[in-house]
Amino acid sequence: MPRMVPSDESILTHLRRGALEFCVLALLQRGEWYGLDIARRLSLDGVLLHGEGTLYPLLARLRRAGHVETSWRESTAGPPRRYYTLTPDGLQALETFRATWVPFRNAVDSALEGPQS
């Protein structure tokens, strides 16, 4: 039954769901970005983002949840752009994720590698 074996892409899709939004928040912690730049940065290796457009539903939800804010800026090329910045709520969510992620990653790693002797 080959159907029961998930593909690389479907595993990645599942893993992204829990982690991608925090990658966006972490990116914004280091400065303000506009949509196109965030999309490019996160889809560089094709691991975090598959299709730049899928970023925008995520950004819309982060904005509605008050984790990011947008503001218009002039651009040297083309129309003004909306820049995204991290809010205090977003920062708090990011810190919570950071604190949770490390033990989670370690637990997964140790489960995959088997019990350490």
Binding site: R17, E21, Y34, G35, L36, A39, S43, H50, G51, E52, G53, T54, Y56, P57, L58, L59, A60, R61, L62, R63, R64, A65, G66, H67, E69, T70, S71, W72, R73, E74, S75, T76, A77, G78, P79, P80, R81, R82, T87, D89, Q92, A93, T96
Partner: protein
């Protein structure tokens, strides 16, 4: 090419809009506006680099409309941000009322001049504009610098009319002018007229700029908040 590039982008957006019919209207409008912005920015970038616009490549980078819409629907799985106990921030000042109110306050506050609580109205408009993400920093600074010109004009105008009325001349017995205050000589009048024209031009330019910002802000608020019906 069998179809023009704008058609390709518009078809993509229309398809995305159709797929989002049942999504939350706010989210639908936000996603459509951001994806449109992404396409425009990518094309502007290509143009800035002297390349021919390649809409197909930009759309390929975005992924299919189905993929993007799948992110909105979440395909039945919860993918929203994890809610925080602290409760989320109040919605940013991006409503459709923000642009008219802020700009009207700036104009009326400035024009009202010395007549009625001008400072209060103007400051209200200024705070609203400064706090709203609908305008760029440059636009805000320009508007706040430029709009008080109206106030200045009213002060200058009032001073001028008072001064003109108070023209008085004193002569001695032989008809020699001893003292003159206000606008009595034609020369002063011409100077003052030119001054008035300059001030009036400045005022018109200042308010024209505020009106431009009004329209820009309203358009942006529209893009952010109105349920998109791209038909």
């Amino acid at each position: 090419m069998t179809e023009t590039s704008p058609d390709l982008a518009e078809r993509y957006l229309a398809e995305l809009d159709r797929l989002l019919t049942h999504a939350d209207p706010d989210e639908r409008a936000d996603v459509l506006a951001s994806v449109r912005e992404h396409i425009e920015a990518a094309l502007a970038e290509q143009a800035a680099q002297g390349r021919a616009p390649d809409v197909a490549a930009v759309l390929a980078g975005l992924g299919s409309p189905e993929q993007v819409a799948g992110g909105v629907r979440g395909d039945g799985r919860p993918v929203g941000p994890i809610p925080l106990a602290v409760g989320s921030r109040a919605a940013a000042l991006t409503g459709t009322w923000v642009a008219p109110v802020a700009c009207l306050l700036l104009i009326v506050g400035a024009l009202g001049g010395i007549v009625f609580a001008p400072l209060l109205l103007w400051v209200g408009g200024a705070i609203l504009m400064a706090a709203s993400p609908l305008w760029t920093t440059r636009e805000k600074v320009l508007a706040l610098v430029v709009s008080p010109i109206g106030y200045l004009a009213v002060v200058v105008g009032a001073t001028w009319s008072v001064w003109k009325v108070e023209c008085s001349q004193t002569f001695d017995g032989s008809g020699t002018l001893l003292q003159s205050t206000g606008m009595c000589s034609p020369g002063t009048n011409i100077g003052a007229s030119i001054g008035l024209v300059v001030v009036a031009t400045l005022v018109v330019a200042a308010f024209a700029y505020v009106v431009v910002l009004w329209r820009r802000g309203a358009a942006r608020a529209e893009r952010l908040s109105a349920p998109a019906t791209a038909d």
